[in-house]
Amino acid sequence: MTTRRSKRFWIQLAFTLLVCGFLVVPVVLSVLAGLSENFFVGVKSGLTLRWVGEVWALYAETVYRSIGIALACLACTLVLGVPAAYVLASRQTRWTRAIEELLVLPVAVPGLATALALILFYGELRWFRQSWLFILVGHVLFTLPFMVRSVVAVMAAIDMKTLEEAAASLGASFRERFFGVILPNARPGILAGALMVVTLSIGEFNITWMLHTPLTKTLPVGLADSYASMRLEIGSAYTIVFFFMIIPLLVAMQYMSGAGARDKGERWKPAR
């Protein structure tokens, strides 16, 4: 690496900064808009938390509902996804590959199609259609593949068979092996999958918009609502609330991927 930078370096740096600006400038603008008295006049009209307060009064329940659905979704994907991932990782046959393909379909097909299908199939069931569980189902379908993928990837990287056989030869039952050996070893994958599931569920719109009712609005549904019918400052303040919710998740994800890269060398490797 030379300390003297070439002209090409500066051109590419400028280009990358331009791309970064394209992504970040609107974020900064919306934060400013949500905090200024009157965005049309500009920041000089004064900074205020008034709009954030108004958003909280109007939409607080969408925030609670989104968190609730995301946690319920996480519980479902853990219960459904981790055992499934264990089977898919330990058995690599035509059948398990086909099942993996099937489970990914709700991600490969647009959310709109999944939502229409759910409405046409279950729309008549009034109590279900009107409850938040209807939205939860959509979120579980959409996030399950991410949990399964993430756990399968880690399980494939550790030598699960040897670990399990060692435990079995010491007399551990399957339950003991699963909870005492397999789950602790798959923890990085489960954690990464969990963060992904919660982040995706909190931001899910394409399915949720079709499935929601006036009484089951989630955060992104409320956002769309405020963008369409409220003044710009309120929409912006609401977006700030959303940023606040996802930033910790993103930071945790970055930290996890950093930690994953650091201890990769010490991880169990398949002995082939």
Partner: protein, 275 residues
């Protein structure tokens, strides 16, 4: 082998809950959706309406053209930026990377709002153009706005893919090409791009499939832009035209699924779309 049989039974039980939920809430409803598609007044021809009906055909063509354009632009932009970020170390790079990947978690609606912030009626581009040209440029609520939005959510994803692939490239090959007198451009064309090809193909497919099915951004910017997801939405909610909406969404689903499957067979490895 009693043990193998016992394992098989155990594995079946472990898979059963996920498969049951998937079957009850996705497979059966989607099958019903496909059936509804041909049980309308037009019968099976609802599935061909996307080519035979001028309005739906226009909607399909504009969605495909838009998605292809977004994919091409994203690959170029993210390819250059991603390659630059893997090849160079400089102070502040970590911060830059964090800023580039922040929008990854934005839902389509928020991306739409970001475009409004840039190019909407009170947007930055409007302010700047009014000051410089004495004329407000506002394009958020048109096809150009959609293009901007799709570019916005595609760039971070593709940058990450390009960076992951570029880190695995053998830099000795580039050194060799350079020492044999290849110009920088030839190194890019003959060494770097072929090396990145599998990653570019799979990233491009994800980008295309995501753009084809994106609903939130288009919904926020304008419900009058004629892209396929919006057409499906209006047929379903405004006209209660269930069979056409069902047929069109099956067609759209087949297109996005096929794009991803094709890319996977070309590139190998795992390809899946995201929000």
């Amino acid at each position: 082998m009693a043990r193998a049989a016992r394992d098989a039974r155990l594995h079946a039980w472990l898979l059963a809950p996920a498969l049951a939920v998937f079957t009850a809430f996705w497979l059966l409803p989607l099958t019903r959706l496909a059936v509804v598609g041909w049980s309308g007044p037009q019968g099976l021809s609802a599935y061909f309406a996307v080519v035979t009906n001028a309005q739906y055909f226009r909607s399909l063509v504009s969605t495909v053209v838009l998605s292809l354009g977004v994919t091409a632009a994203t690959l170029v932009v993210s390819g250059v930026a991603g390659l630059f970020l893997t090849r160079n170390e400089f102070p502040g790079k970590k911060v830059l990377l964090a800023m580039l990947t922040f929008p990854l978690a934005f839902p389509g609606v928020v991306v739409g709002f970001m475009v409004i912030m840039l190019a909407g009626r009170q947007g930055l581009i409007g302010d700047v153009s009014e000051w410089v040209l004495d004329e407000r440029i506002v394009f958020a609520y048109s096809m150009a706005g959609l293009f901007t939005g799709y570019l916005y959510f595609s760039i971070p994803r593709v940058i990450l893919t390009v960076m992951a692939a570029a880190e695995k490239l053998d830099s000795a090959l580039e050194e060799a090409a350079r020492s044999l007198g290849a110009s920088p451009w030839r190194v890019v064309r003959d060494v770097i791009i072929p090396g990145l090809m599998p990653a570019l193909v799979s990233a491009g497919a994800i980008c295309f499939a995501t753009s084809m099915g994106a609903f939130g951004t288009a919904f926020t910017l304008a419900t009058k832009i004629n892209v396929l997801p919006i057409t499906i939405y209006t047929e379903f909610t405004n006209y209660a035209n269930f069979s056409i909406a069902a047929a069109l969404s099956i067609v759209l689903g087949v297109i996005t699924w096929a794009a991803l499957a094709l890319a996977r067979s070309l590139a190998g490895g795992t390809v899946s779309a995201a929000a």
